[in-house]
Symmetry: C2
Subunit: 398 residues, 2 copies
């Protein structure tokens, strides 16, 4: 079992030695107190260690559409640009787009992403090779032919993770306006039969909510609840337009919500109900959405955008730095029920080393304030996932 020793690194206001054994943190002790033997030693002097980001909602290969169409109404953007372009994408394009996405994610400190796109065998292959973690959405939409649904079902039934624990599937019914009640019940049921999480869009726009009320006589969260579908295995992206009663239902069912501030702002979707979500105790996580509506996959930016947008209208104590950080890291891991997203003995050996000599990390009054409000990807020196070094000295090793 390979061991890596990170020596004398800044961790929670003190300096420690951290030993990684295989894919776990095995020992954490005050710097210099214990003499560890290790296959590889990293000098942590001048660096802080933090858990990496969990990007809880993205469409990775949409890096191919980065900057292709911006600054226009949603309908024009989707119908005249995004959909026609997507119709031309080949499996090889998806492979290339996913490679760009994963390189970008590693360089900005992300080691896990929850994806929703197509040609998923290509995506799985790239994730497996490049060493990150991912939850790959098997999408369901009503406009799929019956043979396609059968094929997706078989894919789930026959699934074996080729990576030894880094990759899982999700059932990903696209949204309530593209999947009927029958389709929702089918995909949720399939997920539960096979122990998969469910990943879907919900209440991203006001139009979606209005349509739901018109068609089903109730708001989207209540609609899902009325179908008996909500639970702690459900991960809902966006949830911008949810009212107090819906937030209470999300909390009651221990649902995971994915807030995507940059995408919501760029598409003019509205402001996430930060204060109400926090007070109700909903498990909020963060995501970048696809690179065509962001336009990057940088979770550090999402932390800052969320923390600042929460305060914009005057509630300056709303989402403090340490909570934004938890949304971007630990809460994501919890949403997937894995034990990453936190640095602790026995946990998954995923971490970032942050160069605290960078000007934007200086002075070190409060590390977490600097990390959330001031840092950018240029401060990230090293990325480790599952005990493997993916980036060192800002050079990708994958």
């Amino acid at each position: 079992m390979k061991t890596i020793l990170i020596r004398n690194v800044f961790f929670k206001e003190r300096h420690v030695d951290i030993l990684i054994s295989g894919n776990r943190f095995s020992h954490i002790s005050p710097a210099g107190e214990v003499s560890y033997e290790a296959d590889e030693v990293i000098d942590g002097e001048g660096y802080a260690i933090v858990p990496p980001f969990y990007n809880m909602h993205t469409h990775a290969a949409m890096t191919l559409l980065r900057g292709y169409a911006d600054d226009m109404p949603l309908k024009t953007w989707l119908e005249d640009y995004i959909w026609p372009y997507e119709a031309t994408l080949t499996p090889d394009d998806i492979r290339k787009g996913t490679e760009i996405a994963i390189r970008e994610m590693i360089k900005s400190g992300t080691v896990f992403f929850s994806d929703m796109y197509f040609e998923i065998p290509e995506t799985i292959d790239v994730v497996n090779r490049m060493g990150v973690r991912a939850a790959i959405g098997v999408t369901f939409m009503d406009n799929h032919a019956k043979a396609v649904r059968n094929e997706k079902t078989r894919f789930i039934e026959e699934w074996k993770d080729p990576s030894g624990g880094r990759i899982c599937l999700t059932a990903a019914p696209h949204a309530i306006y593209t999947v009927s009640a029958e389709g929702l019940k089918y995909s949720f049921g399939l997920a539960r039969k096979h122990g998969l999480k469910i990943h879907m869009h919900l209440s991203e726009t006001l139009g979606e909510v209005e349509q739901c009320i018109k068609e089903h006589g109730m708001r989207p969260v209540h609609y899902l609840d009325s179908l008996g579908l909500l639970g702690p295995d459900v991960i809902l992206a966006h949830c911008v337009h949810v009212d107090d009663s819906e937030i209470a239902v999300l909390a009651k069912h221990d649902v995971t919500v994915v807030h995507c501030p940059c995408s919501n702002m760029k598409l003019g979707s509205g402001i996430f109900p930060y204060r109400k979500m926090i007070e109700a105790g909903v498990r909020v996580t963060l995501g970048t959405d696809g690179a065509s509506s962001n336009n990057n996959l940088d979770m550090g930016e999402e932390m800052k955008f969320a923390a600042l947008l929460s305060k914009t209208l005057g509630d300056v104590e709303c989402l403090p730095a340490d909570m934004a950080f938890k949304w971007a890291t630990r809460n994501g891991a919890m949403g997937f029920g894995n034990d990453g997203g936190i640095i602790e003995e026995g946990r998954l050996a995923d971490c970032l080393l942050i160069d605290t000599s960078e000007e934007r990390m200086q002075p070190l009054h409060h590390f977490m304030a600097n990390w959330v409000y001031s840092a950018d990807s240029s401060c990230i020196d090293t990325v480790i996932c599952d005990g493997r070094i993916l980036m060192r000295g800002r050079k990708l090793l994958v």
Copy 2:
């Protein structure tokens, strides 16, 4: 006169050779068309050239207070943390804080900043040595003793730029709630006598507007106008809470407005009236404000925050990428009446080289969308100011 040739660089959708002679761009021609001789040659292959940022409102040495106090109400933040800390700062502290600020600014692509702080001889010395441009505010507040005002007046009267054109002074009456009508007239008059621009805070918070209405019977812009003070030499930071009639007055007098999106969001000040400012034709520029309310000096982030915040409530075509870029570059130079902020023969030789091989700059559907919405400081390879290379290969040379 030193010459630098940047060969085969991507510029406005084509490749060009750019010759810098002394501190000016002297020749721009299609790549390979002309054989230039130069003292230094930079291979521009794989890079795009853009004008650098003009940070139009900051308090540079407040880098010292980065992360010192966050996520609390303005009054607590100022009275219990910021002011007591500032009272302890020595000239040597200001020097160190300004050095951190300028290193951070260069690394994030800024070559000009308009400053408002104290111990300005220290700041001027650091700016002169480190090779950037700055407008240094000579602050005026009513609580200054008469001797202090006289000293500041003498400083302006005796001012000689030690840098050969990179540094100017501004008269900087702090705000309408700290400077009386008499004090405003004095500092504005002094500025105009000596050909300086005027830099002040205005209408940052709702409270400031309400106090102005109570004391003067009119809103802040009308108050300055009633004193006969507005003109194209006036640079007003924030202007969050200005109504339609005030925006018309700002446009009529050709005033420069500095929008500071991160600071306004973090302090909960409110949302800048983007659409109305644009439609009225006001010259809007961008600034970071101090690092204690941001918490960095990264103008690239300000571009993205402004462009996204403008769209948040649904006006998705409001501030497109190319306009946000102009606010962050050319408009700042125009506000100061200098001919930087644009790459053109005869203009000041200030530029950035952007690494277009970085994942977040890929693919190159639209360079400007990538630059505004996707890039971060890690994409900036080279920074040139006044014909001097300040950073190359992300290594600071100053």
